[in-house]
């Protein structure tokens, strides 16, 4: 037999004719049954999903949010660094200038009039989060729910913005 045993673990195939004990099959069957019987008492691998959820790792990168500051103003200034850093080109935005009387809405003079992330393109690498100079975009520990239409996965600014902390307190 001439073969290259590189890993030193290869074994030639055993082709001996079956012995009597092997021919009556019963010992082998009993062994198999004991194995499956043992598995009755093993821990189940199943996680009953809607009732139980698998815990995410601490640095899990999921769905994005757009952040607000303490006064409820949008932090994003539409600088475009997130879109630039995005390797999947999932982010698009349109900037606009803040007008008089909108100071309570936007933190800086420039803001994102439109901001879209295509969750089907996104690879959840987190580079946008790292690139953002204004702490405006973050990745959370949730993932995008399923949808029937592709359009449903394009998340608009309204979908991404976190609720206004001021409004919540006033509502309560």
């Amino acid at each position: 037999m001439n073969y290259n045993n590189i890993s030193n673990r290869a074994k030639p195939v055993d082709r001996h004719p079956m012995t009597f004990m092997e021919k009556i099959y019963l010992p082998a069957i009993a062994k198999g049954l004991s194995i499956t019987l043992g598995h009755m008492f093993h821990k189940k691998a199943t996680i009953n999903y809607p009732e139980q959820t698998r815990p995410f790792s601490e640095n899990f990168r999921g769905l994005h949010i757009l952040n607000r500051d303490e006064e409820g103003r949008e932090r994003c200034t539409a600088c475009g660094l997130c879109a630039l850093s995005c390797p999947a080109e999932a982010i698009t935005m349109e900037s606009a200038e803040r007008k008089k009387g909108e100071e309570h809405l936007y933190k800086e003079e420039k803001y994102a009039a439109q901001y879209e992330i295509n969750m089907l393109r996104c690879i959840f690498c987190g580079l946008c989060e790292e690139a953002c100079p204004k702490d405006a975009i973050y990745l959370t520990q949730t993932f995008a729910p399923s949808n029937y239409k592709r359009e449903g996965f394009i998340y608009k600014k309204e979908d991404l913005l976190i609720p206004n902390p001021k409004q919540i307190t006033t509502n309560n």
């Binding site: 009556i24 198999g32 499956t36 598995h39 821990k43």
Partner: protein, 356 residues
């Protein structure tokens, strides 16, 4: 003029009994599908069906409903009559076998009348079962042949040859048991296994004829077309085997008849070898409870044994891989038949030597 002597109440009683037996075996077959999935799941460290109802108990109902709702397709080039006859025959035959099984001790009513819990106490009960079981392969053959599909046909060829080979071993092994019992009637074989211990030995035939039991068990796996001998279905080689072309409730009939067969075979195994409705200490029970309750305890014991066998069948299915076809034939012809023959010879010699 024997026929005229049969009273109306007798006929009604029998009809009710048949209805109960058929309904019961259909119900058990239904929940066998659930149990099979649960057993498989437990062995593979999963949970199995648990969405429909508590513990997934409504799953069989949902499955049945789904099968009814499916589109019924009859292939254009099939032979339509035979195509429909196939699953019907399979279902009919699997329901037929239950006729000769004694389900429990006779019911004794308050007015002293006795009602036998056996549809027909024919004195050739075992032969009837063999006949009915070997008819079962016709359902598969007709259906497969009529569907005009080469995979189905190959499957039916396998099924037929397998059934013929293993029926031989089955029949020869049973001769040894029949020689011991001296009767072909199921009722009498059960009565001989009364209680559990008599004259310093077990009464149950599994202890008197363990090798017959072994051969019978292996052959019944083959007769049932169940893993490890499920050559007829063989989904990894023959698409779906004999029911490749079937859909909707016709497919359901095939699958269902398989589970009914499994239940009936379990009952037969427990009747012939594990004492049927007999259990240790039954004489004490008979003396202490009303006869009606005593009968029902017997029925419950028989069903308990049958359920045990059903679980064992499932246990085997999810443990052992399928036999290769040549291995199957080698096992049948070169091992089981000679083994059964030798066992028959020895049994005959022993009976001749000691009894006469």
């Amino acid at each position: 003029m024997m026929l005229l002597a049969i009273s109306l109440s007798f006929v009604i009683g029998k009809v009710i009994l048949i209805a109960v037996i058929l309904g019961g075996s259909l119900g058990i077959a239904m929940y066998s599908t659930w149990a099979e999935r649960k057993v498989a799941a437990i062995m593979q460290d999963r949970t199995g069906p648990n969405r429909a109802g508590p513990f997934g108990l409504f799953q069989p109902l949902a499955d049945g409903l789904k099968l009814f709702m499916k589109e019924e397709i009859i292939p254009v080039l099939s032979s339509k009559f035979l195509f429909i006859l196939g699953p019907s025959l399979a279902m009919l035959v699997s329901c037929m076998t239950s006729a000769v099984i004694p389900w429990g001790p006779d019911l004794q009513f308050a007015d002293g009348s006795i009602f036998s819990l056996q549809v027909a106490d024919v004195n050739i009960g075992i032969l009837f079962i063999f006949g009915a079981v070997s008819l079962g392969v016709y359902g598969i053959m007709l259906g497969a042949w009529a569907s005009n599909n080469k995979y189905s046909l190959m499957s039916s060829i396998r099924a037929a040859s397998q059934a013929i080979s293993y029926e031989l071993a089955l029949g020869i092994s049973m001769i040894a048991l029949v020689m011991m019992s001296g009767s072909l009637s199921m009722r009498e074989i059960v009565e001989q296994q009364h209680g559990f211990w008599k004259d310093g030995y077990f009464t149950w035939y599994v202890f008197k004829q363990p090798f017959v039991f072994l051969v019978f068990l292996v052959c019944s796996f083959a007769e049932l077309n169940r893993a490890p001998f499920d050559m007829a279905e063989c989904e990894s080689e023959l698409v779906g085997g004999y029911h490749t072309e079937y859909s909707s409730m016709k497919l359901g009939f095939y699958l269902f008849s398989e589970y009914i067969n499994m239940f009936i075979t379990s009952v037969i195994l427990s009747t012939l070898f594990f004492g049927g409705y007999n259990y240790p200490g039954m004489d004490w029970v008979a003396a202490h409870v009303p006869p009606m309750i005593y009968s029902f305890i017997g029925v419950a014991v028989l069903l308990g044994k049958a359920v045990g066998f059903i679980l064992f069948f499932m246990f085997i299915r999810w443990t052992i891989p399928r036999f290769r076809y040549d291995q199957l034939m080698n096992l049948g012809w070169k091992s089981l038949i000679p083994f059964a023959l030798i066992n028959m010879l020895i049994t005959g010699a022993v009976i001749l030597f000691f009894n006469k």
